[in-house]
């Protein structure tokens, strides 16, 4: 009986929260908010916030065209693998006091799982056989390489900071990082972690392929690169993946740097109107809401505002920027953390 119950519970995690449904709703809403804010910044009216949902369902109703030059199975399966990987990452990221799969949430796993969505779009694009996709995947791969170094440095800095605070030397477990922040306050409040947080904020638009780091999908030059040949439901899945990636990266930021603050907000909200047995479920719900709000805030700061304020960079500029400026920021944090500051 208990096995069935726990199976149901895990199924709930995967399907509803923090799994598929949450990813779908949260990602799409973030995408809508982003578009609205950018439009406002550019003195346009912009689409309604729910526009990404409309786009998604409309695309799902369209015909799927497979180019004659494409490798069919790979072409159609690639989007789904990327989507699955993103949902898995979301399952691993703890939501303040709650984490669905606590044992497995390891920073290096996340680092590698984050490669899979990029890889899926690259392989999918390659399988389409289109020259535009060829250019696009080349740029996408370079962007991934560019982002990898600062990301690695940031994650190692966090691991070292939390590890030395806990006395274990290093700590790769996201759950422990979240627990540490719940007890001792957010990492962003430490001086040594501020450069790392900044670096991570700068990595987010690069990882999601948002402006100004969207050379890989530059619509005006290479017709969205890897997506050039996609249509119908597979394209919808890629659009969804892009939206979820925004949610995933921002919630990773929350988990790494803002855990304490978010936890406090949840606690305060929970105290306001709470008695009895519904505490657990309501706590999770509140956690979801707070997480989403924080994600939205970060999205606005590091995706929308940056988008509206900058022009697209060339690919070699992207690479140079990440491996110099952003990496230097992250490295600063790592060195500070190393010497225990």
């Amino acid at each position: 009986m208990s096995i069935i119950l726990s199976a149901l519970q895990y199924l709930g995690y995967i399907l509803i929260f923090p799994g598929f449904l949450f990813c779908f709703l949260g990602g799409m809403l973030l995408c809508g908010i982003d578009r609205k804010i950018v439009a406002k910044m550019q003195k346009r009216v912009g689409p309604p916030v729910l526009q990404p949902f409309y786009d998604f369902f409309k695309l799902c109703g369209k015909e799927t065209i497979v180019p004659a030059a494409a490798a069919k199975t790979t072409f159609l399966m690639a989007p789904l693998v990327g989507l699955a990987a993103l949902v898995v990452i979301q399952l691993f990221i703890p939501v303040f006091h709650f984490s669905a799969f606590s044992g497995m949430a390891d920073i290096i796993v996340i680092l590698y799982l984050l490669l899979i969505p990029a890889l899926s779009i690259i392989i999918g694009g390659a399988a389409s056989g289109s020259p535009y996709a060829g250019v696009g995947l080349s740029r996408e791969m370079v962007t991934v390489i560019a982002c990898e170094l600062p990301l690695v440095l940031v994650l190692l800095a966090v691991a070292k900071t939390v590890g030395s605070a806990l006395g274990t030397g290093l700590c790769f477990s996201l759950t422990e990082i979240a627990a540490y922040q719940a007890a001792n306050g957010s990492l962003i409040l430490r001086a040594s972690m501020i450069p790392a947080a900044l670096a991570f904020l700068l990595v987010i638009p690069g990882e999601t392929g948002n402006h100004p780091f969207d050379a890989a999908e530059a619509e005006t030059e290479i017709c969205e690169g890897m997506l050039a040949e996609y249509s119908g439901p597979p394209l919808a899945v890629y659009k969804l993946s892009h939206a979820i990636k925004m949610l995933t990266l921002t919630s990773l930021f929350v988990a790494l740097f803002l855990g304490g603050i978010g936890g406090k907000i949840v606690n305060i909200l929970a105290l306001l109107g709470l008695t009895g047995g519904a505490a657990g479920a309501l706590g999770v719900l509140l956690g979801a809401v707070v997480l989403f709000l924080l994600c939205a805030l970060i999205t606005i700061v590091c995706i929308s505002l940056v988008h509206a304020a900058t022009a697209r960079l060339k690919i070699e500029q992207i690479f140079k920027y990440y491996w110099t400026v952003v990496s230097a920021l992250a490295l600063m944090s790592l060195v500070l953390a190393w010497y225990g500051l």
Binding site: I14, L15, C60, G61, K62, E63, I65, V66, P67, A68, A69, A71, T74, L80, V81, A84, V87, V88, F101, G103, M104, I108, V109, Y112, L113, L115, L119, A126, A127, G129, S130, P131, Y132, G134, V135, L137, S138, M141, V142, V144, I145, A146, L149, V152, L156, G163, S164, L170, F172, C223, A228, E229, P233, A236, V237, K314, I315, I318, F319, L334
Partner: protein, 639 residues
């Protein structure tokens, strides 16, 4: 001791290969007989080693075998010995499996060549040489085996001597390889002059407590000698040349087996013979050389235009990982290194076989000429992708599990020793991994995806035998990735424990109590803690599977996902054109230029490296000499 006693199995495992080599050349006129003989000898070798797994790996027994029953007399080991501890057996198993699969692959792959009889002879000699090296308990015997395997490898590199560069590659390899062998021989006799024995265990006991100038020089010579066999920097250009020219089935052996023999030699040398891994300087040496190999070779791979040369550089890059992990001198580091060594044999074997399949069907490995083969060779494509994901460390394939352990081991070492240099190693390892992924994206785009050139319009899938061989490796990639606990418990942990129990190794050979009585201080068995910081849990992979299934269902349910549209009619113009509609313009980005954005920023580095790898044998010999000089300096001043 009866003939079937397990004590004899190691020598049987070696002799079945050598015997096969001679029988093939004598009786192998007929193709079926030849194949049967080769198959029987490699299977027998594998079988004998598998029969030892329970005793050596699980019960922890060390098999000491004296040829002709000449046990040590008067405290001196005069006879020739084989000694099989868990480390030897671990490498022996890797070799046996790689040889087995490569042999199966060869049946189809070599079917169009001349002189296949000689091919199998050399093949089995190479396999026997490496097997003899890792199972041997005698330093001079190791040298003999090194010579046999170098010879066989050189001859096999030049086997297709009409192919471009085959002779050239073989000659370069022969020159530098022989310089390495000479170093090993000089090192061996210098140790003999000090200790008057060639038995590995006895040498370990006698040398470790008594390091003088001569033994230090011997160390440098032996280290450089085994480095040439492992192809680590600065010997990597030889590997690239040899791999590019040799038949794919031999590339599997060179990368999966020959480099392992070098690695095995280095581990035996540093951990056993000189027992100097406790020194920070020794750790620095191995980690430095390993990281250098890791990084230089991955960047060299990014610049390659040839499928097999690219794979060759990656091979050395991965060997760099293994060496780095082994150089940490922690239980976790050794486990991680051995795990990665095993995975390297598997995924590199798979990738070389895939490259061989492409070569077999198209006649070229030039990345600039190939393209779009996934439509013609779908199975090979899938198998190649499995190998590519494994080597890039994408979960849940095996590369991820071992790389994860390597990152954790290096980072733990950095934290424990407080040395920021090890932190740098972690970062290099992580960045190298993504560069590896990048170059495999390049290969998949240039060979399997993109547009199919007209000349390859009629290419067919490879015969079943070749796909079967690749399938074995692919299956191993997945299995060893999904069950890391089994691998660590039954393979790498016993082998890692063996690395740290030198005293037991010596006593098993020379009689109980010998190590303590001879060495100045009894060998302190270091405390081994196997705290692996949370290992990759395959449950996560099941999660991915479940969610992928779910996503498939959702997409399938969402609207008009009708299957008819998946099979476009050939005449339907809608499916002909790309979005831009420029049918006649074929603008696929070529292999080497794919990562222009990356290479542009590093153009000075790439230009420098390109000029440095001049292809002149004198230059490579000079590198070898410089490396030797540096090793001598290091050994005399620092050690």
């Amino acid at each position: 001791m009866s003939m079937l006693s397990y004590q004899h199995f190691p020598i049987y495992a070696i002799m079945s290969l050598f015997l096969g080599a001679f029988l093939v050349v004598m009786l192998g006129k007929n193709r079926a007989v030849r194949n049967a003989l080769a198959f029987i000898s490699v299977s027998a070798s594998l079988g004998f080693l598998l029969a030892l797994v329970k005793r050596v790996m699980i019960d922890g027994e060390v098999i000491a075998y004296w040829m002709g029953g000449r046990v040590p007399a008067g405290g001196y080991a005069i006879g020739i010995a084989l000694e099989v501890d868990a480390l030897s057996l671990f490498f022996g198993l890797l070799i046996a499996v790689a040889v087995f699969v490569s042999c199966v692959y060869s049946f189809s792959y070599m079917s169009h060549d001349d002189n296949v009889r000689e091919y199998y002879t050399l093949f089995l000699m190479l396999a026997g040489g490496v097997m003899g090296l890792v199972l041997s308990g005698d330093l001079f015997n190791m040298f003999i085996m090194v010579e046999i395997l170098t010879f066989a490898a050189v001859a096999l590199t030049a086997f297709r001597n009409t192919a471009a560069g085959a002779l050239e590659a073989a000659f370069k390899y022969l020159v530098v390889g022989c310089m390495g062998s000479t170093c090993i021989l000089v090192g061996t006799v210098m140790l003999y002059a000090q200790a008057h024995t060639l038995n590995f265990a006895q040498l370990s006991a006698l040398i470790a407590g008594d390091m003088n100038t001569a033994t230090k020089v011997a160390f440098a010579l032996l280290f450089i000698g085994f480095s040439t066999k492992a192809f680590i920097v600065p010997f990597h250009p030889l590997a690239a040349d040899a791999h590019g020219a040799a038949p794919a089935s031999i590339s599997v052996l060179i990368s999966g087996v020959l480099t392992k023999s070098g690695l095995y030699g280095i581990i035996r040398l540093t951990y056993f013979l000189f027992q100097s891994m406790g020194l920070g300087s020794m750790q620095f040496l191995l980690v430095f050389v390993g990281s250098l190999s890791m990084f230089i070779c991955v960047t060299m791979a990014l610049a390659q235009h040839d499928f097999k040369r690219l794979l060759a550089f990656h091979s050395i890059s991965q060997i760099g990982y293994v060496l780095t992990a082994a150089g940490l001198c922690t239980a976790m580091g050794i486990s991680a290194g051995l795990y990665h060594a095993m995975n390297h044999t598997i995924f590199k074997g798979l990738l070389f076989l895939a490259a061989g399949a492409v070569l077999h069907q198209t006649g070229t490995t030039d990345l600039g000429r190939l393209g779009g083969l996934s439509k013609r060779m779908p199975h090979t494509t899938v198998l190649f992708l499995i190998g590519a994901f494994s080597i890039s460390g994408i979960p849940p394939f095996n590369g991820f599990a071992s790389k994860w352990m390597i990152y954790q081991a290096t980072y733990m070492k950095a934290v424990e020793s407080g040395n920021i240099g090890f932190l740098l190693v972690t970062i290099i390892a992580l960045v190298t991994s993504v560069l590896t992924l990048a170059s495999f994206v390049k290969v998949s785009q240039s060979v399997f995806f993109g547009r199919l050139p007209a000349e390859f319009e009629n290419v067919k899938e490879v015969p079943f035998g070749m796909r079967f061989a690749m399938g074995i490796f692919a299956l191993l990639c997945v299995v060893t990735g999904l069950f890391p606990n089994l691998v660590t418990n039954y393979l790498t942990k016993p082998a890692a424990a063996a690395v740290f129990s030198v005293g037991n190794y010596i006593d098993s050979m020379m009689g109980a109590g010998y190590a303590e009585s001879v060495m100045a201080a009894p060998p302190a068995a270091p405390v081994i803690t196997y705290t692996e910081l949370g290992c990759w849990d395959p449950v996560s992979w099941l999660l991915i599977l479940a969610i992928a299934l779910l996503a498939v269902t959702i997409v399938a349910l969402a609207g008009k996902y009708d299957r008819v549209s998946l099979r476009p009619a050939a005449t339907d113009a809608k499916h002909d054109l790309f979005f831009g509609g420029e049918e006649s313009v074929y603008s696929q980005v070529g292999g080497g230029d794919l990562f222009w954005g990356f290479k542009h920023n590093w153009r000075h580095y790439f230009g420098f490296m390109h000029d440095l790898h001049s292809g002149i044998v004198n230059d490579y010999a000079l590198w070898a000499l410089v490396a030797l000089a540096l090793a001598l300096l290091f050994s005399l001043i620092v050690l």
